[in-house]
Symmetry: C2
Subunit: 288 residues, 2 copies
């Protein structure tokens, strides 16, 4: 349960964009099989690994995004709650996006909103729109939290549904609905880096609404196209996620001692590349 008052998610995000000058989000998807061996052997190895990544990359990120499934598969939700608490305490300016992707009828969605915002004290959460507005509405009532609706996900297997039909594809209907739902300014959309044309179409529909952009790292999305088509009128507006390419950047010789530094290097490099492209493509952007 969240007891300390925090700045609203959207404001936190704006501060990270403008003052810390970063649109990079690090996804916390710990895989026990990919931890440094010395950590994998310890009972709290996942927790230690995640905290190491968090501390090492904090200055380079606008948000952290833990993946619930990584903890749910192991039955370690309490570990996830502890990790989020750790981030709030040690990096209070950085918002935490819970990657949960729940979607259910209204009465059940309300319980999942409780899960995300009270139990896990997340600042924002990803939500699946397949069951319509009532599956999103209970989250929206938490005015200080962010609600990130799946729109055009980064995987090509989703074409079959999200791109149907050509004339008025489902993903654009979701974008239009999200604009309608966004009466409190706390809605975002997931728009995969792997589909820059759709990113452009979404941006045209949603104005300056922030977008969570997965698919740049291991999935091969093009960062230049993301910045070109995804930024809002202020030259920001993106939360560009990288998970595996940062978390496991140090895998190889010296992994146990170097994993956090290598993750920091990967995060800094990517943040800098995003900045460079912003400067090139939106040179008038104001950085405070």
């Amino acid at each position: 349960m969240r007891t300390v008052s925090r700045t609203a998610f959207i404001e936190q995000l704006g501060e990270r964009w403008d003052k810390q000058d970063t649109m990079l989000c690090v996804g916390l998807d710990p895989d026990p099989a990919r931890l440094p061996l010395a950590l994998a052997r310890q009972s709290d190895g996942v927790q230690q690994f995640c905290r190491g990544i968090v501390d090492a990359t904090a200055e380079y990120v606008c948000a952290f995004k833990p993946q619930v499934a990584c903890f749910a598969a192991l039955g370690t939700e309490d570990e996830l709650a502890r990790l989020i608490e750790y981030i709030h305490e040690n990096h209070p300016a950085i918002p935490v996006i819970l990657d949960a992707k729940r979607g259910d009828i209204g009465s059940t969605a309300r319980l999942y909103a409780t899960e995300a915002f009270e139990r896990f004290a997340a600042d924002a959460v990803t939500v699946n729109p397949y069951l319509g507005e009532e599956s999103v509405r209970p989250y929206l009532e938490y005015q200080d939290r962010g609600v990130i609706v799946l729109c055009r996900t980064s995987n090509s297997d989703s074409d079959w549904l999200q791109m149907h039909p050509q004339a008025e594809p489902v993903y654009l209907r979701v974008a239009e609905a999200a604009v309608h739902w966004n009466t409190r300014g706390n809605v975002m959309l997931v728009a995969g880096a792997t589909f820059p044309e759709e990113l452009r179409a979404i941006r045209a529909v949603v104005g300056d609404m922030p977008l969570l952009v997965p698919g740049v790292g291991a999935q091969g999305g093009d960062l230049r196209a993301v910045i070109t088509f995804g930024c809002n009128s202020r030259g920001v507006g993106l939360v560009i996620n990288a998970s595996r390419s940062v978390l496991y950047a140090g895998a190889g010789p010296g992994y146990a001692t170097e994993y956090a530094r290598k993750a920091a290097d990967a995060a800094r490099d990517m943040r800098d590349e995003i900045r460079r492209l912003q400067a090139e493509l939106a040179p008038d952007r104001a950085v405070i």
Copy 2:
């Protein structure tokens, strides 16, 4: 973790239809605010309540369907695991459908399959298709379990997406895809009782594939239309869910002592009504 070998989900379901002659599923959606007061005061009140309902209604059901969100909101996933274990031990012939509705990219879907089938030892699980085939495939690899894909959900808020566009609506694309995915005979679809026309259209697409039908109880779906349009060529093929109308049937005077008996009465009445309609509408059905 599931250690005891169990009959495959689809076979269990067939046995309940044919030998126990029931298509009723009781949804286990415990709400701490609606428990009998004497139970609500106890630390394991939810567990006791659910076990009471399970024991009282077991002979009338073809499946139990616990809702993950009810436990996730309280952080009591271990209670859910204990409840499912209890059902397996005490009512081994009755399959357990975990109502989770997860949906994510392949690597994450694999973790959610682990959550459903290994951690919670469920016999089947509900899955959201918004991210496409890769979000379903990891579940399908568990050949002895059931995978129940959201197709046409029971809530009208979903029209906007599932009924789009008129000529080839999304829900029918999901039904067609499910037929394609069903190489091992372990796929089902969710088809809401509130939309009998769509139930008929789904049945026309999927052949004898079983359907999970929510929306008959509190949501007001018409049981006669469900049996008329939903049954397969053998006059069965449905898992008709009721949650609140059974769980809280005894609310009122004497609730604490009567809740289980009243739930049993409500379940028996509904099972009998389903049977009566089957006999009327599919008189040639063989009951063993």
